[in-house]
Symmetry: C2
Subunit: 335 residues, 2 copies
């Protein structure tokens, strides 16, 4: 197996829980088996946070992610993004926006050049960045814009050891789902999922299970027409493309253990249909993976959590799984 | 504690898995701790099925459910509904419809007279009953019609040791949910749930958690207006009625273990929002409880399963939990 290229972790909003979770996972690296990573941040701000929270973590400035693995044994390796502004835990500060953004840009540059094997992103607060002139709808769209012109279409995968699930429509009102759900949208999403399962996850013939939109997948039309009219043709089109797709399946019986053994990824037609089973099964251990980008990106499945930042109560479970999965995917891609 | 009144179990469609599951649970009564019950069926048909499947179960005809407990130690007690027609496993037979219906009618009579403490119903096939002139939309509506005139409004609770959940809208296309979901419907449903949790489940101050309709419960209106316009006023109205209701809550973070500890029953706005977590957490051990009737009714959370009837592979888990819960509720009601 080839040597895995190093992971880079962006700082996220420095008023959120990202810094303390990274510090905690370095401190507990032996017990947690934390994969080595380089954080992109202000080394000074990281040191201040470590002292403030009595975490006893030495910080070492590095220039190249390639140094991270050796340094990681003794200190938390930090790549300086050159923006000194800091924020107190729980007190978002617009002056930090430039550093938050710069960390993401540098991470993408390192990943695109091959210097980094994968990017793990800490959560940002869009409202803080918007106040500083950020003009993208969100974190993922910003990564897509940095990835190419025109930007590739990103696809959100929620992943845990229990379940991998992709919602085809995401952050829209439930009432808009039936109109926005098209055969084309399902097929385009599933094609990206199938390609990335082969490329990144090393699954030669990924099995995709597509949920029906309606209760009981429409029950032969009695409970809605879309399953036969929209979802079933997508399954047929995917099969014609050589993709092992099944469905439309009744969503309520897709997610228990025996059912999950029958597929690699579930595609759901809307947000809660996929996020409910994902977070019911693995609330603390779920991670967000962005498929469709020319690099690997994972992120913890929580936000900045300003309300608990600095209190030492935030759980690093999801960030740890995000780092571990990024490391696994980077190794698979490098092999 | 008062002596619990006996349970009666309807035969369901004799071509389905109901008979064999009842026979199996009698045979394994010691290991399964099967609560004593009287089955309402054709004693002859039950004996034939026991022999056909080599289950070695003696059948004893009884006239009064009060005899069930003593008989249950030595034989499966059966109350004869007087209709001899039989069906082979997996081969539904319209001539059996009269017995299937008669078993339900007799069970309701026994429960309403107080001779039975609770009804457990085996699954029926509506299509078989329709062919014989049955004119109700379903099993539950038939029970409601037998319960009073005008019929009481039944409310479906999906119950397991892990989660109790009530979908406010049920078997309708997803596209119709936003229009059919009204503050009044939510409040009327929740009032029945709260009353029955006190009356049947012995929970003095039931805590109800109401899901939002939209992703992230609408995220302040950005992801849909209904959570603020329809669900939140229902929560306020319930609180004004002295009911401990919370919500609208983001549905995806309501169903993990720590979240579930905060409520007794979850109310979801549509079918899959509630049935997904219920069946993800407890696929084999979930039961259906009909609230709002003047008697206790539980049923296994599966159908007739004609495709596997008679093969000895059907799992009795859900029927067992339905019997146990019925026994528990009957005992609570009698105490």
């Amino acid at each position: 197996m080839a040597q895995a290229r190093p992971l880079v972790l962006t700082q996220g909003d420095p008023a959120g829980i990202g810094l303390e979770l990274a510090l905690t996972l370095w401190r507990d690296r032996a017990a947690c088996r934390t994969p080595p990573f380089a954080m992109i941040a202000s080394p000074g701000a990281v040191e201040v946070r470590a002292r403030l929270m009595n975490l006893g973590v030495p910080v070492r400035r590095i220039a190249d992610p390639g140094e991270a693995e050796a340094v990681f044994e003794h200190a938390l390796p930090v790549i300086d993004h050159g923006c000194d502004a800091d924020a107190a835990p729980g007190k978002p500060e617009p002056a930090t926006a430039r550093g938050t953004i710069r960390a993401i840009e540098m991470a993408v540059d390192l990943a695109r050049s091959g210097a980094a094997g994968a990017i793990v992103t800490n959560p940002i607060a869009k409202s803080v960045l918007y106040a500083a002139g950020f003009a993208h709808p969100g974190h993922t769209e910003f990564l897509a814009a940095l990835a190419g012109d025109p930007p590739p279409r990103p696809v959100m995968l929620i992943w845990s050891e229990m379940l991998a699930v992709v919602p085809v429509t995401i952050h829209i009102p439930l009432a808009r789902v039936p109109a926005e759900l098209t055969t084309r949208l399902i097929v385009e999403t599933a094609v990206i999922v199938a390609r990335e399962m082969r490329l990144r996850f090393g699954i030669a013939e990924p099995r995709l299970a597509l949920a029906g939109l309606n209760p009981h997948a429409g029950e032969g039309g009695a409970l809605g027409a879309e399953d036969a009219a929209v979802v079933a043709p997508a399954v047929e089109a995917l099969r014609a493309l050589g993709i092992a797709a099944t469905g439309p399946l009744p969503a309520d019986t897709m997610f228990h253990a025996r059912a999950r053994a029958g597929y690699d990824v579930a595609l759901t037609m809307y947000h809660d249909q996929g996020l409910i089973p994902a977070k019911t099964l693995a609330f603390d251990e779920g991670v967000n993976v962005t498929l469709g980008l020319p690099f690997i990106r994972t992120s913890p499945d929580h936000g900045t959590a300003f309300d608990i930042a600095g209190k030492g109560v935030a759980r690093p479970d999801s960030l740890l799984v995000a780092l571990k999965l990024a490391g696994r995917l980077a190794a698979a891609g490098a092999s």
